[in-house]
Symmetry: C2
Subunit: 226 residues, 2 copies
């Protein structure tokens, strides 16, 4: 057990150094894109909360000045979905790197270099579907957005607070499923407020278009970039 | 960048040693519980796929010979839900340990010691809500069960293959939402088969009771224990 404890301490030290290196790269990305007037939005959520669908709807409204970096453990399914709409999408697969549960700033920098910034006005990162790890790694975005679908339950902000705390905007998705037994939208809003009082909340549904106009207005306003 | 690479290598080496230590403890738990005729089931899924609800339904059918170890980053909400049914539930919060996205075998051993094995016939671990990390750490269960709700989309086995590969049983939950636009149960079954042909699949719904009897029958049969 003493061996295990020592290894744990070593793991924490190594992680702290990695996180510090990550933050420096992230800050560089944020500054560089601000200078180029490119708004960078990082989307985080559990698997299947509707990140790709939201990007699809956004591309339909705002067109091809959007580029996307797709994070997945495996497959290029999401990048392919988006490329069908005529936009540039770069896929990062973390599978070959031990199936990492998050994206790091250095990988984002490589992806931006590959995509090129010419003609880009809005950059989305679709992070790995996970409510834990992506919140620990700054990717250099101007706006962190957390998606939570109504089918996931209203207790999630209390159980996964960090993801909500690092986000400036929370999108409650799949509201077309409401009313849902055992789910209270009011309770979810209350729980988000408990862990992050500053987080803005809007309800959206790609099925009936609810809230999409507010979302587009926020993107045009570029909060966190000025 | 060279510094970062070196740190990455160090991280991987440390992780490999931790995983090896974890596997040894997990194997010990598995053997010890087998000897005591206690069936140990590890439940994994995304946040909000219905793990706690499934345990509640199981307790209602099989009674108080069940004990539960609850894994969450924060809060004791799930343990409290289960304690209301008169069963013993031990909560592990990983928040104080850097918000770890998985449970480790040594923590499970501690929890079992605290709960005591007297009168226990079935042990559930409700792992952290996450489709990535819990799959990497053997907790010593006889049966690994992966829950996936129909609202998460049928592409998840392809995008998060490891969680499906380490599981012997897959429960498709929230089937009361079917038929769902953009979701095919057949396609989900096909995708599970692609990544793990040996994984049994059953459809369940706590709302209308569908599949619960099959689930109870499986628990009584104790696969992986003999």
């Amino acid at each position: 057990m003493r061996y295990k404890k020592a290894m744990e301490t070593k793991k924490i030290n190594v992680m702290q150094k990695l996180l510090k290196a990550n933050d420096t790269i992230a800050e560089g990305i944020r500054k560089d894109l601000r200078k180029k007037n490119i708004f960078f939005v990082n989307l985080m959520s559990s698997p299947g909360s509707g990140k790709t669908t939201l990007i699809e709807e956004t591309v339909k409204k705002l067109g091809k000045k959007i580029k996307i970096i797709e994070g997945d453990i495996q497959t290029t399914l999401d990048a392919e979905r988006l490329q069908k709409l005529g936009v540039q999408a770069y896929q990062i697969n973390t599978g070959p790197f031990g199936g990492d549960c998050h994206l790091e700033a250095s990988w984002i920098q490589t992806a931006i270099d590959e995509l090129g910034t010419d003609g880009m006005e809005l950059l989305f990162v679709e992070n790995i579907g996970n409510l834990v790890c992506p919140a620990e790694f700054d990717v250099g975005a101007h706006l962190n957005v957390l998606l939570i679908s109504v089918t996931e339950g209203e207790d999630k902000p209390l159980k996964y607070p960090l993801a909500f705390q690092v986000s400036q905007l929370c999108l409650v998705t799949k509201t077309d499923f409401l009313p849902l037994k055992n789910f209270s939208l009011e309770k979810l809003r209350e729980n988000i407020k408990k862990v992050n009082p500053a987080c803005a909340v809007i309800e959206v549904s790609a099925q009936d278009g609810k809230g999409i106009d507010s979302w587009i207005a926020i993107l045009k306003n570029k909060p966190g970039m000025k």
